[in-house]
């Protein structure tokens, strides 16, 4: 038990937690923005894959790291636009369209990767983002090294939480997003263009998800490989429910989830071969389901989630 207590108090553990949490924070925020506007985006897994590839590809071709992030965001926004056009003006099933977008995003990424690197056994790496120690703050014991010696995308993810929260609750645009997700007919009566707001929200949310994917190739693994998103997108969807569609709780959920993930990695080393390693790998997924069960009881879904809205059509 002493070992576990030491672990939970160590800076390296919390530094790892924040690193693991970064793609979840960005993905969950992105999904949250889509869902707040009333659009379920099951394309997230494919959008993250495409973001991971696009960002890596840009840097591999010689672009700067931040350009890579921008390229990833643009690729994600484009794929998000496809999902938005199919689900918002056309009102197609958000479930099925999302699955289609995921299949397209992943298969297109794999195809492009194979085209770029026809015969490579070990994926080539790029020079990734380096950790940046914030002056003064990083000298605080424990918290300093954990919180303030991360790579820039982790800081960006934390900033994105604040930004999304501010936009959603303090700006007219945020009000419009929340209104079209709750009651599009009322929003329309207020002169809000429901279609435009929903499409805009899905495009922006998808860009965030794609940056979450790009974190994996530009900050964590330095390379692109198949199946690299590995269900992270789906877990983000569970985390949105856990967060009750609130950005602050999304951060909390992502960090708790990542802490659990970092914990099981360490626990694996401590417990060793007493349990098959697959048991530990299952835990995050089981935990997600458990979180869904607990939170779904009082989940306050955006009321127009998954309900298409066509101007002038009665509901």
């Amino acid at each position: 038990m002493g070992e576990i207590a030491d672990l939970l108090l160590s800076a390296t553990f919390w530094a790892a937690t924040l690193r693991i949490a970064t793609p979840y924070i960005l993905g969950t925020l992105g999904e949250l923005v889509c869902e707040r506007a009333g659009v379920l985006n099951l394309g997230i897994e494919g959008i993250m894959t495409l973001g991971a590839l696009a960002g890596w590809m840009a840097v591999y071709q010689g672009a700067g790291l931040w350009t890579g992030v921008l390229v990833a965001a643009l690729a994600g926004a484009l794929l998000g636009l496809l999902h938005a056009l199919l689900t918002v003006p056309l009102g197609l099933s958000q479930h099925v369209t999302g699955i289609g977008v995921t299949l397209l995003g992943t298969s297109l990424s794999y195809y492009v990767y194979r085209m770029a690197l026809p015969q490579v056994s070990t994926p080539p790496t790029v020079e990734p983002f380096q950790p940046f120690a914030v002056p003064v703050l990083s000298d605080i014991p424990v918290i300093g090294p954990a919180l303030f010696t991360q790579t820039p995308l982790t800081y960006a993810a934390l900033a994105a939480v604040a930004l999304v929260a501010w936009v959603l609750y303090r700006t007219p645009a945020g009000l419009a997003v929340r209104m079209v997700g709750e009651n599009p007919a009322a929003a329309e009566a207020q002169g809000i263009d429901v279609t435009a707001v929903r499409v805009g929200a899905v495009v922006c949310g998808s860009a965030l998800m794609a940056v979450g994917g790009a974190f994996l190739t530009l900050s964590a693994f330095n390379a692109f490989f198949f199946n690299m998103i590995n269900g992270r997108g789906w877990i983000c969807i569970a985390l949105v429910v856990f967060a009750s569609w609130r950005p602050g709780k999304a951060l909390l959920g992502a960090v708790l989830f990542a802490a659990f993930d970092a914990f099981q990695l360490r626990l694996q080393q401590i417990v060793g071969p007493a349990l098959p390693y697959q048991v530990f790998l299952m835990l995050p997924y089981l935990l997600s389901i458990l979180a869904l069960v607990v939170m779904s009881r009082r989940a306050a879904y955006p009321r127009a989630l998954m309900i298409p809205f066509r101007k002038g059509e009665r509901h």
Binding site: V96, I99, L108, Y111, W234, A238, M282
Partner: protein, 350 residues
């Protein structure tokens, strides 16, 4: 631009729409093929040749279509009731796992009982895996999309654990694979010198049975009513939750059967690469078929042909075989759009 509902889309339109969508998908993917420097016409000709151009190719395509037909039916029956079962991949592996255990003779069953036990056990395992999320959905309002998806990962890890643990074949040279099933638990071959097996017959029978259920029985009507409007169905006296559970048993069972049939008919033993995403492709198959059981037969042959043909093509020319997945994904999106165009006509704004 305005969308105006068509009151009665003609039958011709409804039949032509998916075909048009597939043509559109082929045209869109031509750009990706042209990028490789291979002639588009040549590539598609090779793909067609590799999928349907010979007795061998045709048998391979039908072999590949068999599990897709079953997972496609699994998705079609669930989606009709708006039960969003995205977990067919996990249900398939659960079915395969149970089939390998029962077919391997771990229970002391008489020889004649091995095959039925493996198939039925596999189907039940798939059912069981979907019943859980369905109960969570109907009782607690937990979204089944996420739970069934996450279960896919859990089941695969569980299978991996079994293959490296209790089910590991001592003769497997250290590979994580199970011991093969006994010869009595194998499905017969349909065609000499091919891998085509009687699983295809099972899938075809299942498709026809589901079609009859949909069109001729109270069950089919209830499922349709629950899918169309659960509140109204409940008001009309249909036990919505019970219908959902029946659908879950059917849908999960079909996906589980897909796994069991792959074991009994094709592989004989279980590995972690049993399915190259048959569960997910099944969703595409169901959508291409517009959730129609007989349409699933055609759609699964189409999707299988794309995969088998793309494999053959990529052996000859420099087009990566991932083109198959892109083609299938683009086809799905095109079919969605075409289904919209069947239901609505586009009018310029007044």
């Amino acid at each position: 631009m305005l969308f105006e509902p068509r009151a009665h889309p003609s039958a011709a339109l409804r039949l032509l729409a998916p075909a048009g969508a597939v043509v559109a998908a082929l045209a869109l993917c031509a750009a990706l093929i042209a990028w490789t420097g291979t002639g588009v016409g040549e590539a598609y000709a090779l793909l067609f040749q590799g999928a349907l151009g010979s007795r061998f190719a045709l048998a391979e395509t039908l072999t590949r279509a068999t599990p897709l037909m079953l997972t496609g039916l699994a998705a079609a029956v669930a989606f009709r009731a708006k039960l969003w079962n995205i977990g067919a991949e996990g249900q398939l592996y659960a079915g395969a796992l149970v089939a390998v255990i029962l077919g391997g003779g771990m229970l002391d069953l008489p020889g004649w009982a091995l095959l039925p036990a493996a198939l039925l056990g596999g189907a039940l395992a798939g059912s069981a895996l979907l019943v859980g999320p369905t109960v969570l959905k109907t009782r607690l309002g937990v979204d089944e999309v996420v739970t069934t998806l996450l279960l896919n990962f859990i089941v695969l890890l569980f299978v991996s654990m079994m293959l490296e643990g209790p089910l590991k074949d001592p003769m497997g040279m250290g590979w994580p694979q199970s011991a093969p099933v006994l010869p009595e638990a194998e499905l017969p071959r349909l065609l000499e010198r091919s891998r085509l097996h009687a699983g295809l017959v099972l899938a075809l029978v299942a498709a026809v049975a589901l079609w009859i259920m949909n069109t001729r029985t109270t069950w089919g009507y209830e499922i349709k009513a629950v899918g169309a409007n659960p509140a109204a169905a409940g008001f009309a006296g249909i036990p919505v939750n019970r219908v959902m559970l029946k659908v879950a048993v059917l849908s999960g069972g079909l996906a589980g059967l897909a796994g069991a049939a792959e074991i009994a008919g094709l592989r004989g033993y279980l590995t972690l690469d049993l399915s190259p995403g048959f569960g997910y492709s099944g969703i595409v198959v169901a959508m291409l078929a517009q959730l129609h059981p007989l349409g699933v037969i055609a759609a699964s042959v189409f999707v299988a042909a794309v995969f088998v043909g793309a494999d053959a093509m990529s052996r000859t020319v420099a087009v990566p075989n991932y083109i198959a997945e892109v083609l299938v994904a683009v086809s799905l999106l095109c079919v969605l759009v075409s289904s919209f165009l069947v239901r609505y006509r586009i009018r310029r704004s007044p």
